[in-house]
């Protein structure tokens, strides 16, 4: 703005360009050509410094025997990856992560869809309900995990108290595989269902009314409208939420860590590693005895590849929604 103002004020006086004039012209051209790049540069500079560089450096570290406790870094090539693929605790962690991901994401997105559908109906206090959806998401992960860990407590947990008063037995949520996965999935779902519901709601509001009217005339019920009209119409949004939830779900850390309590079970995800996720596995090797950063970096890169793979599979799967409609 300032440049433009100057430019209109300046060229009145002189007709023949002198040296300073030419310099000004040059500066102006440079400004015009380079400025846009300069404006967007901060993002790319920051991304390079905090995104690209660490990524590349992690790859470099992963090819070394690199402990935080010693200054010698021995090059081992793909040795860390080899050890990793041969470690049954890694496969165990991968299995746990996928299981928790499924348990958390599928019900969560279905519930979000239903909630969003309900929110499109005419409700009293619409803003209140919509804002309320976002509240669990605003709470810190740690607070959520701490509170839910107490709810799922074995002796004094609210969930067990309810189960018992309903006549069902107490459940030691932490010690079983399935039970611990369910408990962790509930924490994730509680935090993210409302968030996804709002995203779906936004997408649903851009679906033209006429489509629904046509469906209504054809005698489609509300549920049929949801699954045969709304879902295909908001497919890009569904793809987005599925991929974002997948990425989040494959990286969950705070929930299982806090669920395991302050001792060694918080690192290994239970005494039998029944709820150790990939990130916890990474943490166990990177930030525990040994501080094996080389190995932990190999875990990080393997996780990255797993995430890309799963996201890709999800994308292909979700794309079929269109062909069905």
């Amino acid at each position: 703005m300032t440049i433009a103002a100057k430019r209109t004020a300046d060229p009145t006086g002189r007709s023949s360009p002198t040296a300073p004039r030419r310099f000004q012209l040059l500066r102006y051209r440079l400004d015009l050509k380079a400025s846009p790049y300069l404006y967007i540069a901060p993002f790319f500079v920051l991304f390079a410094v905090f995104g690209l560089f660490p990524l590349a450096y992690t790859a470099w570290v992963s090819t070394h025997e690199w402990s935080l406790l010693s200054d010698a870094h021995v090059f081992v090539g793909l040795g860390n990856y080899q050890t990793l693929l041969g470690d049954r605790y890694f496969w165990n962690a991968l299995g746990n992560t996928l299981s928790i991901l499924l348990l958390a994401t599928v019900p969560q997105l279905l519930a979000a869809l239903l909630l969003a559908h309900l929110l499109t109906l005419r409700l009293r206090g619409q803003t209140f309900w919509r804002m309320g959806m976002l509240l669990p998401n605003v709470a810190s992960v740690v607070a959520v995990a701490v509170i839910f860990s107490q709810l799922f407590g074995r002796d004094f947990g609210l969930v067990n108290w309810v189960l018992e008063s309903l006549g069902a037995g107490r459940v030691d949520w932490q010690s079983g595989s399935a039970t611990s996965h369910i408990a962790i999935a509930v924490m994730v779902a509680w935090k993210w269902t409302g968030y996804n519901a709002l995203i779906y709601l936004a997408a649903m509001q851009s679906v033209p009314r006429e489509v629904y009217e046509a469906a209504h005339l054809d005698g489609a019920s509300r549920m049929q409208q949801l699954f045969h009209v709304t879902v295909p119409m908001i497919r890009p949004t569904i793809v987005f939420t599925v991929i974002v939830s997948t990425i989040y779900g494959l990286q969950i850390f705070a929930e299982p860590q806090l669920f395991g309590g302050g001792g060694p079970n918080g690192v290994t995800g239970g005494a039998s590693r029944q709820f150790q996720t990939l990130t916890l596995y990474l943490y166990e090797h990177g930030f525990n005895r040994g501080f094996e950063f080389g190995y932990a970096s190999a875990v990080a890169w393997t996780m990255f590849l797993v995430i890309v793979l799963v996201a890709l599979l999800n994308y292909l799967f979700i794309r079929r929604i269109r062909s069905d409609s």
């Binding site: 935080l68 860990s149 407590g153 525990n288």
Partner: protein, 421 residues
């Protein structure tokens, strides 16, 4: 001229920002004050002592950072490795001290700062634990020691028809841990299967701490498989688990904390520092808990040192403070206020220490009990990954407790897991 005021405003804002940052960074040492940061796990009861010290040395101020037990040591290791972020003064628990004495150059050598003349002040083994392998540098000064006793619930013992007075209770298991397990059987039978103790890992650890040799030999080799004391402790613990005596709790979890008040278990191994933990965790149970002697002789569990990471900027001031803080007079004050037992034997004859009782524990003579416990401790060598090894074995016991493995499977997996250490 719309641009001028905007520019002027921006310049003013920039100038203000600069001035602010200048003001902030200038607030530190310029006024002659030195702030010492102190990194602890849990409350060490130093609060009133900071104030007292600031009265003596007005130029020193304190900033206490408290983290959780496991996080504290992980963070400290990371900060040492990366060369920044550690507090001026850090607490290190005994299970981790060898890990740090193995890298003495990361700490200020306290022998150079004036500790060389003070050796006789501490229990010999407490002093040794903070010495580097070559004996050239001392990285920490001892705070408390964890001579063991056994805390028990009077009300639950009474309901089970067991003796209630502490001398009689001590006599129940005076012979050995086998007697303790026998009492556990009686207790379970009388109560219809209530838990006798909180976690098998703690019972196992107590037995190991009493042995001459623990999980490491003096050359830092793991001897878990070959040391008969470990095998015996494992077997007896498994026996207790199979008899259903364990409450299957994990230390430092909310359920465990609640158990002290709710009485879900009747006994717990009680190093001196545990008494204050019980007291703060179960304020409503005053008078219900009491303290007897531990089976199997004396042993040390826990206790800490204060170390000065080399990255700290005020070694002299920090040293002067921890020398004062770990002096007998101050250790006595900490004991009186929290129950953490002094590591300076000079106090063990002192009436002020031996005469101390705790109303919460039914007026148990904690001074006498823990003095006797501390004096009888035979030092055990602590290897570099002591804490982690014990945690790994504890998890093996946990797998037996929750029924996911048989004792043999659990033991095999423990040994396999230890291979990777």
């Amino acid at each position: 001229m719309k641009t001028r005021p905007i520019r002027a405003a921006m310049a003013a804002a920039a100038a203000a920002a600069l001035a602010l940052t200048a003001a902030c960074s200038g607030g530190g040492d310029d006024d002659g004050k030195i702030t010492l940061s102190v990194g602890l796990f849990g409350d060490f009861g130093f609060g009133p002592l900071y104030e007292e010290y600031t009265k003596l040395h007005p130029e020193i101020e304190f900033e206490e950072r408290i983290a959780e037990f496991a996080d504290h040591h992980t963070n400290l290791t990371t900060h040492l490795a990366t060369g920044s972020g550690a507090a001026d003064i850090e607490a290190v628990e005994v299970g981790y001290i060898s890990q740090y004495t193995a890298q003495p150059d990361r700490f200020h050598n306290l022998l150079d700062l004036g500790a060389a003349d003070l050796e006789g002040q501490w229990l010999d083994w407490k002093w040794q634990q903070a010495l580097s392998k070559d004996g050239e540098s001392l990285i920490g000064l001892g705070t408390d020691v964890g001579g063991m006793a056994m805390c028990y619930r009077r009300d639950l013992f009474e309901q089970a028809g067991l003796p209630v007075e502490r001398d009689e209770v001590s006599a129940l298991w005076a012979g050995s841990w086998e007697d303790y397990v026998e009492v556990g059987r009686l207790y379970s039978a009388a109560t219809g299967g209530d838990s006798f103790f909180e976690s098998s890992g703690n019972m196992f650890r107590a037995m190991v701490e009493q042995a001459d040799e623990g999980v490491y030999d003096r050359e830092d080799n793991l001897v878990v498989e070959s040391n008969p004391a470990i095998g015996d402790a494992w077997d007896l613990t498994v026996e207790a688990i199979e008899a259903g005596m364990s409450n299957r709790l994990q230390a430092w979890t909310p359920e465990w904390n609640a158990g002290f008040n709710e009485g879900t278990f009747a006994t717990i191994i009680c190093p001196a520092w545990m008494t204050s933990y019980i007291e703060t965790n179960a304020p409503d149970s005053a008078g219900l808990w009491d303290i007897a002697t531990v089976p199997g002789g004396a042993g040390n569990m826990g206790g800490s040192h204060l170390v000065l990471p080399a990255q700290g900027d005020h070694p002299e001031e920090a040293y002067e403070f921890i020398e004062w803080l770990t002096a007998p007079e101050q250790q006595l004050k900490v004991f009186e206020s929290t129950g953490n037992f002094p590591s300076t034997p000079g106090l063990y004859e002192d009436e002020a220490l031996t005469g101390l009782t705790k109303p919460y524990f039914n007026d148990a003579p904690v001074g006498q009990i823990f003095t006797a416990a501390a004096q009888a401790v035979r030092p055990q060598y602590q290897g570099p990954l002591q804490g982690d090894v014990l945690a790994t074995i504890g998890q093996g016991l946990g797998r037996i407790e929750d029924g996911s493995q048989t004792p043999d499977e659990a033991w095999t997996q423990v040994l396999a897991d230890l291979e990777s250490f």
